[in-house]
Symmetry: C2
Subunit: 447 residues, 2 copies
């Protein structure tokens, strides 16, 4: 039996940030279920050497803890390609846009702005450390974005916009997201506009070489004896003397344990003593979003020469959002797209060849016949990933924030909780994951 | 390593019914996490020898598979005490009733009847084997009972009635239950009236000695070498040759495995190969209901002499429903009550003494000062039970029936699924558990 001060469960951004923060002051061991570090960040390198992210990939200026970390690791950022016109696809029509109307009728664009402002005003009242304290919290928590939407605006096109944007942000449908969580998340991320914006928003920058390099660099710094791969944790026991983390046939004893898994997966570990009912009730009601991320490789970013920035918002298609994901030198072109929520479910039921055809068909509708000549196709269905089971993150069911919200982060004995879902700031984002790791590390040090 | 034909995971009604059905034709082994059989049926014996059920307890005439089983086991039923007036408590007033108005104004009683009928008409269209095939299934699945309720009736008291009845049936609030699941459940159980009725309904009869005797008798018949207690299953592996069920340090090899855990708990086992994303998505979105069952022991069933049947429906109190749970000979009195859904959460946060006081206060408001003189108090908070984590059962989140419903019962390789949640008939009830066990056993035999 190995003995350390702190075991960290999960070698994603939260876990490795925590371990890095603790490494100088405590003997820390990170246990990772997969054969790689990175969690929801993972790279793919095309045969031509071009590398793309199959998971979290963007850094916004507000992501200050993430930027601080990447800076310290010597990683560089570059701007997400954002030159030229965006496309909105609606009723089979392709609308180019350069301004905030995103190609919609002025009246609808104004209505979207008005509704976004009123959402923002509601969100302003949410205490990020205790969303359950907002006035009328229970009423906000017991209704969904969908039920609010039909009251918020009578403009069907504005409603449709929020039904496209909600999956783009939450990988969940409007009927799956409690209004209180929507408000919390918007405030946690800055604003709805910030979350859906490229330059000046949450999609502003990328990391040279890919975001998976962040975890790889931290793990390399910790040393291979402090990060154990292929070590899925089965159980965590604790008593007055110590905690014991059981993984396969091995047991590691520690004074403190930081669990960085999203709530749904943290709830699948076995605990001795078993966890209080409130915590367990929460983990039963915190499902992961559903998303398939796809990337198509082209000889060149041909859409750029046509004045397009590669960004699509489609009201019609299973791939509802796309981005130009080409490498910084533009030596080849990559179009990246997301199938989210119900789109992910439907695409996920197809066989690979049919799904690829469906994705290419979307790209052809968006970018014309040259989009058919892709050199390669890669995809990642995050719901099929045993050790994540969905992206972008977990979200609470109705009534969870107000009934059980405090159990999301409250330590239970020697167990501390981290992960992007636990961060008051940048909740669900890589920056939130880093923040949660630093917070949990600080908890451990003061305990 | 032990080798058998079939491993059954869980020694509740589903698992033991399956094992009993298979025992003559296959070598079957039941693995049970607890130190007892029975699952969601469990008895408590007061110091005076009077026995009560802390879990599932009633048998209705429609529960034909359960009645067949108890008959074969030589167990006898007796009628739930139902003589005299019921009580409805509303706005601090106690209303006695003997008829279907349940003490509400005639106009509201009629309105409740009308809404119940329209619910029934909707429910009639649901195919119990494929609820996702009902017309407009997605729309019904994406809204909650709460959102439907405000459209179904403008009578605030009728609305309030459904907000009391829904927790009584689902141990969940109206905003937690998708309308499609409500309709499915009502049709699966017969009708909403059947589900909430004592004589002639789902609460008609009780088992002499308690419902836990059913599983005890089956287990005794199987023999102690076929039911292993204290054997929580960790993982299930399968390949072309066999399945291996891992529990603690032991491995049992089998040709088939029947998992009877409710979906939320089944999702917490580890599977090799890991389960398809659809099945996992479902288990993330199938939380258990929340209920605390309480029982107060009295020297005699004093309410009977006052012409009361012991049944309360309270619009005001944390204990919203009560029953006379006295033994068949009436030699002592037992009042049983439920705190469900949000009531269970709030009561669950109190310490035991305060909660007991709160429960007794309810009984005093319902049955007068004599209710204060209880001899004993027992309770079971099912959300705190590690190997159940909630009652009466699991329910799907919005979109789960239409998106992933088939994965509730579809075998995955050598793994078959049972449990009350998987039954088209009497879903969520003991009868449904038995039916699911028989169905899974039949699947195994024909495979």
């Amino acid at each position: 039996m190995r003995r350390v001060d702190v075991v960290v469960v999960g070698a994603g951004l939260a876990g490795l940030s925590a371990a890095r923060s603790l490494a100088g002051e405590a003997d820390v061991l990170v246990l990772e279920a997969r054969d790689r570090v990175g969690g929801r960040t993972v790279g793919h390198t095309f045969p031509n050497g071009c590398s793309v992210e199959m998971g979290g990939q963007w850094v916004g200026g507000a992501h200050t803890e993430l930027l601080q970390l990447t800076g310290e690791l010597g990683l560089e950022t570059f701007p997400t390609y954002d030159e030229g016109a965006g496309l909105t696809v609606l009723d089979g029509q392709r609308r180019q846009w350069l301004d905030e109307t995103i190609g919609l009728p002025d009246s609808t664009a104004r209505e979207i702005g008005r509704v976004t402002d009123s959402l923002g005003a509601l969100a302003e009242r949410v205490d990020l450390n205790a969303p359950w304290r907002v006035p009328e919290a229970e009423a906000l928590d017991q209704r969904t974005v969908e039920s609010w939407l039909s009251e918020a605006t009578a403009d069907p096109l504005a409603q449709a916009y929020f039904r496209v944007i909600t999956p783009a942000v939450f990988a969940a449908e409007t009927h799956e997201v409690p209004l209180l969580h929507f408000l919390f998340y918007v405030r946690s991320g800055g604003s709805l506009d910030y979350l859906v914006t490229t330059a000046g928003g949450a999609q502003e920058s990328r990391i040279v070489g890919g975001t998976h390099r962040i975890c790889e660099e931290i793990a390399a710094g910790l040393g291979s004896d402090r990060v154990i791969l292929d070590a899925p944790v089965d159980a965590i026991e604790q008593d007055a003397d110590a905690a014991r983390v059981i993984h396969g046939g091995d047991v590691t004893e520690a004074r403190r344990v930081i669990v960085t898994l999203p709530p749904a997966l943290a709830g699948r570990l076995r605990y001795r003593p078993s966890l209080p009912s409130g915590r367990d009730t929460l983990t039963q009601r915190y499902p992961m979003g559903r998303v398939i991320k796809v990337q198509l490789l082209y000889d060149e970013p041909f859409w750029r020469t046509e004045g397009l920035n590669g960004q699509v918002l489609s009201f019609d298609d299973p791939i509802a959002t796309t981005f130009d994901n080409s490498p910084p030198d533009g030596r080849c072109g990559v179009l990246m797209g997301f199938a989210e929520a119900e789109h992910a479910r439907r695409l996920g039921q197809l066989d690979l060849a049919t799904r690829r055809r469906s994705v290419v068909d979307c790209m052809v509708r968006f970018f014309g016949p040259r989009a058919r000549n892709s050199r390669d196709y890669v995809e990642l269905d995050w719901t099929a990933e045993e050790y994540t089971r969905g992206c972008y993150g977990g979200r609470p069911a109705a009534g969870v924030w107000t009934g059980y919200g405090s159990t999301l982060t409250e330590p239970i004995g020697r167990i501390h909780w981290a992960g992007a879902e636990t961060s008051p700031v940048s909740n669900g984002y890589m920056d939130g994951a880093v923040r949660s790791g630093l917070r949990a590390a600080a908890e451990v040090l003061t305990s």
